[in-house]
């Protein structure tokens, strides 16, 4: 089984990631032959193709990979935190806070850098609200945390609808794209990529404790895990990762829910393997999905979130059916 050969499994996923990047770089309204990309014909890339690949397609593929990795990792962590395989990164309302802040800055006509910053800020505000309300009386239970998150999320949802209603017609299109998750804007990738690397390193350090925490607070505590501290670390790590993903790409759905499931079917639940495997799988699948999103109906671009949902919904229903 794959579990016995974790190195080969991870190498296969690295290969998948490379293939997804090559696919993204070569595909589009102008297709570049694969021989030219690797300069196999002896001649270097033409300046036009060079600019197409390195100025447009590569940054976008990197953004897609980063967003996919962030969401998958956040999903894995959130499923541990809530001890529920059906949790996703948005379940505690982080995306709602980010979306409201982003829409408000679009309403005010701010530039895309401001938009990214305010989305991140909105996510952080939402995180702090959930954390302090769930902690209000000291005891922190899963159902209390979940309830707080869901209530806040529906509050954000109402405010988002309100902004959409009062927004001028010409801004609505951009707002809807943002809400569905979209990578067509040129947003700074580097900060999100750094968050991904830090989050990955941080989660790998606590990965064996994550395995134990799935057995519940009492069992984990009796095996020497400081559950209170660990829960706080997981909460802030997964929230930060989600905030990074949303500021980069809007609320892309289903990646954070489906990818951990999919990878768990192949690798098992051991987080020392599940975590890096989910990042690689989520990253490459989102690169492929985004490439399809910009080419399937070209010249019309689809928000990538629509495509992930279209792929994710039937896939998830299938997995759910199989697991019963």
């Amino acid at each position: 089984m794959l579990k016995k050969h974790p190195v080969f499994f991870l190498l296969a996923l690295v290969l998948l990631s490379l293939i997804s990047f090559i696919f993204a770089l070569l595909t589009g309204s102008v297709s570049v032959p694969v021989q030219e990309l690797f300069s196999l014909t002896g001649s270097p890339l033409s300046p036009f193709h060079y600019s197409l690949i390195f100025d447009l397609r590569l940054p976008r593929a990197l953004a897609a990979f980063t967003a996919g990795g962030l969401l998958s990792l956040a999903g894995v962590l959130m499923q541990v935190l809530l001890r529920n395989p059906l949790a996703d990164p948005y379940v505690l309302g982080v995306s709602g806070g980010a979306a409201l802040a982003a829409l408000l800055s679009m309403l005010a006509g701010l530039s895309s850098t401001w938009l990214t910053g305010s989305a991140f800020l909105g996510a952080l505000i939402s995180i702090v609200l959930v954390f302090s309300f769930a902690h209000a009386r000291g005891s922190w239970t899963i159902s209390r945390l979940l309830l707080t998150g869901i209530i806040l999320a529906s509050g954000w949802g109402a405010l988002i609808s309100f902004v959409l209603v009062i927004a001028p017609a010409e801004r609505i299109h951009g707002m809807l794209f943002w809400l569905m998750g979209d990578l067509s804007y040129n947003r700074p990738v580097l900060p999100a990529f750094i968050i991904l690397l830090l989050g990955l390193a941080g989660s790998l350090l606590i990965s064996r404790q994550l395995n134990i925490l799935l057995w519940g607070d009492l069992q984990a505590g009796s095996l020497g895990v400081d559950t209170r501290k660990l829960r706080n670390i997981i909460f802030f790590l997964s929230s930060l990762l989600t905030a990074g993903a949303i500021s980069l790409a809007g609320s892309i759905g289903f990646v954070g829910l489906v990818i951990p499931h999919l990878v768990r079917l192949l690798s098992g639940t051991d987080h020392r393997l599940l975590i890096p495997a989910s990042v690689l799988t989520g990253g490459s699948l989102l690169v492929i999905a985004d490439t399809l999103a910009r080419t399937v109906l070209a010249p019309q671009q689809l928000p990538v979130g629509v495509l992930t949902a279209l792929i994710g919904v039937p896939l998830f229903l299938y997995l759910l059916r199989r697991s019963q």
Partner: protein
């Protein structure tokens, strides 16, 4: 440096309550390696709460727990987990996991944070599964196990952890009568019948007949009133009748003693 207090677990005027109801008040008592304790009391009296407190997972209202001359709360979580282990009444686990993986988590306190379990850890887990007759299931997913098999797996995890103090919350519920005897004999051989008396068992149990047969000490919890001592002194019909608020009779022949509750 073996002294009388080596590795003993002392309750120093311990007061504990649950939901405003006292579990014990100003309780002073000592557990020693080589003893097998039965903890009894009616439902909801706080037996599980007491076990959690002894594991260090719940704060006492007053007083303290002293393990090997040192306050239990001053131990680091991992050090504590090498001394105190808990088998819960129930587990809820929603993810795919094999029997071997589940047993192996018992090694968590012994493996360095960034290390993987090595072949020695696997051997220990394998031995524990074998002792409980689960070795042929080691690659099965735990979701496919029966209630009794799950119960034995929970104990295998605790045997893999092999702490000095085994805190057992109804370890034999869900088990058939033969399996109950097997498990309790296994535990007894680890505590009282062992060559080196290094481990102690503290077990919540409802059946006075099993307690009589296997435990050498008994602690009765009765809404804050605690009675404890040697089994034959504490497990009397008067004490049991008072504890359970019903008439308990004792029937004995040369070999066996049987407690029967009558309405």
């Amino acid at each position: 440096m073996a002294s009388d207090s080596a590795n003993t677990l002392m309750l120093d005027s311990l007061s504990l309550s649950i939901g405003g109801k006292p579990v014990c008040r100003q309780l002073n008592m000592t557990f020693k390696p080589g003893e097998f304790w039965g903890v009894m009391g009616i439902n909801g009296v706080g037996k599980s709460t007491l076990l959690q407190c002894l594991t260090g997972l719940r704060q006492a209202d007053q007083g303290q727990i002293i393990l090997n001359n040192q306050s239990l709360s001053s131990y680091k979580p991992v050090e504590r987990a090498r001394k105190m282990g808990l088998m819960l009444q129930e587990y809820e686990y929603n993810f795919p996991c094999t029997v071997m993986e589940a047993a192996l988590i018992g090694r968590h306190p012994f493996v360095d944070p960034l290390q993987w379990e090595n072949s020695r850890d696997r051997d220990i887990a394998h031995q524990a599964l074998k002792q409980l007759g689960l070795e042929h299931l080691s690659e099965r997913f735990i979701s496919t196990l029966s209630g009794g098999e799950k119960r034995r797996l929970n104990l295998a995890t605790l045997l893999t952890q092999n702490p000095d103090y085994y805190l057992l919350d109804e370890p034999v519920n869900h088990l058939d009568i033969k399996a109950q005897l097997d498990i309790l004999s296994l535990l007894q051989s680890r505590f009282t019948a062992a060559e080196h008396k290094t481990h102690c068992g503290i077990m919540v149990i409802h059946d006075p007949n099993l307690a009589w047969r296997y435990c050498d000490h008994i602690l009765l919890l009765d809404n804050g009133q605690c009675t404890f001592g040697k089994t034959h002194e504490v497990l009397t019909t008067e004490n049991l009748s008072r504890l359970y608020q019903c008439k308990v009779k004792k029937i004995s022949d040369q070999q066996h003693t049987l407690f029967i509750a009558t309405p």
